[in-house]
Amino acid sequence: MGKRYADAIDGDGVGIMFHEIFESLDSFEIAGTEFSLFNLVIGTIIMLAGFAVARISKSLFNKYYAPVLPEHTAKNFGKMIYFGIIIISFLVFTTSTGIDFSGLLVAGGILGIVIGFATQSVVSNLISGIFLLIEKPAKQGDSIELPDSGIAGSFVDVNAFSTRVRKFDGTIMRIPNEKFFTSNIRVLSDSPVRRHETTIGIAYKEDIDAAIEVLKKTICSRIPYVLHEPEPSFRVDELGDSSINISIFVWHPKEDWGKVAPILLKFAKNALDDAGIEIPFPQRVVWKGD
């Protein structure tokens, strides 16, 4: 034995030496399958190389190709490349080590049913995630609202089991894919423009046309984000208990809700005040019988 190692070293064959060391070790058996230490080492090297190649490929993809793709697509492609290479490495690993999974199939079938029942929601979320990736109900960064859940925010991404939405208060909401997939989704930023509406009341004694004219002039001149085509529109909505309620409808670029909605009512109120048009308080007339 010692002479053989010496010969190998003498022959400058370090690799040959290691090969012979591992070959000389006895193989062992697990669950009826025979493994050799040499094959396990080779398999481990393949798996480690697979991880390294997957990581490098993903990095190269992120550096050179992802910037020209939509963020959402790039992220999914990155994951596909990474896990695809790892799966291929694992298949090569099992082949090189001689692991035979056929024995596991029968047991796996029964186990699969048990696991299937136990992980129904997990699988459901996984499948819903795949359908969400295919359907793409929203793009990354889109403002969305789930009216049923009362969730509104910016769409972040779809992961294996959940979808993430960044709420407008900055917090991240994780929604199970199945719930997200079956929810009504209102995409707020898909159209180039959005409409905002608000209601203001004027006293019964006031001239409705004059009030509308004042409101229109002020909104058009003071809020630069309000569209002039289509121009703001007004509708007498209700003859209320205390006031005539006028609904105001304005369009604005989809990005600029925050520059229109919070100030629209303020400008409307100031415009009516400046024009001397009364905005009445809620009031009740009580008639006293004689």
Binding site: V193, P224, H228, E229, P253, E255, D256
Partner: protein
């Protein structure tokens, strides 16, 4: 004693060694050299808004260029398209063509000149009240545009200093019926601006009304100006080139 009329600064290059004051409608700009050799830039508008910048400089003087730029930035950059609503309706009969001049609003760009580069340093509008948005088409599929009501003018020299330029629009009607033209929508980033003294012009626009099978549509294309004695304005934003564009007919 009559009220003194403020003289507005003209377009063009200005070399600054110590200080420079520029006057625009409702906007004043001051550039001064400080003790450390840097230049300070201050812009103040009629509403009291102030923009201040420091321009580090290794040389004793700097050069700036004041030039008209495309009216896309105020109140925020949201689109490359401009929607011009004409003050008069133009009726174009079947197979006819016509051309007329319109006033198109502009904004003002201040560029720091480092030959051969002209770096965009600041921009502003001298008429914020007329700079608004408009939508061409339906809310879900339409095109967001900068919206301006513009007059039809008679001469290429009818531009207003710091407020508007003049653009020639050629209309060709290839439809089998007459058509009333009240507006035009086009990507203004395809168009270059030119100035000479107090006057400015925009590349021309060719608008063709066509019919393909049963669909009537508008094709717009930019036509470059050919006058050589006008100075081309530096581009504030990145140019995009669309040789021609088709849109549905409203």
């Amino acid at each position: 004693m009559g009220e003194s009329v403020k003289q507005y600064s003209k377009y063009g290059s200005y070399e600054i060694e110590e200080k420079l004051e520029l006057f625009f409608p409702s906007v004043d700009v001051r550039i001064n050299r400080d003790d450390e050799g840097n230049f300070s830039y201050l812009r103040k508008d009629s509403e009291g808004n102030i923009v201040e910048k420091i321009i580090p400089s290794v040389s004793k003087k700097i050069r700036i260029e004041v030039a008209p730029i495309r009216p896309l930035n105020y109140p925020a950059r949201r689109t490359n398209f401009v929607y011009l609503k004409f003050d008069k309706e133009v009726f174009l009969s079947e197979g006819a063509s016509t051309s007329f001049l319109v006033r198109c609003p502009i904004e003002i760009g201040i560029f720091l000149v480092n030959e051969p580069h002209k770096d965009s340093m600041d921009w502003f509008t001298c008429d914020p009240s007329s700079s608004r948005f408009g939508l061409y088409g339906e809310p879900d599929t339409g095109k967001l545009c900068k919206y301006y009501k513009v007059p039809i003018v008679k001469s290429e020299l009818d531009s207003e200093l710091h407020l508007s330029c003049v653009m020639k629009v050629n209309f060709v009607n290839l439809l089998e019926r007459g058509y009333s033209i009240t507006k035009t929508i086009f990507p203004i980033t395809d168009h270059l601006l030119y100035y000479k003294g107090e006057k400015s012009q925009l590349d021309s626009l060719k608008v063709t009304l066509r019919k393909r099978v049963a669909v009537e549509y508008v094709e717009t294309a930019e036509v470059p100006l050919t006058q050589n004695d006008w100075t081309q304005s530096p581009s504030w934003e990145k140019d995009t080139q669309t040789p021609s564009m088709e849109m549905g007919l409203e």
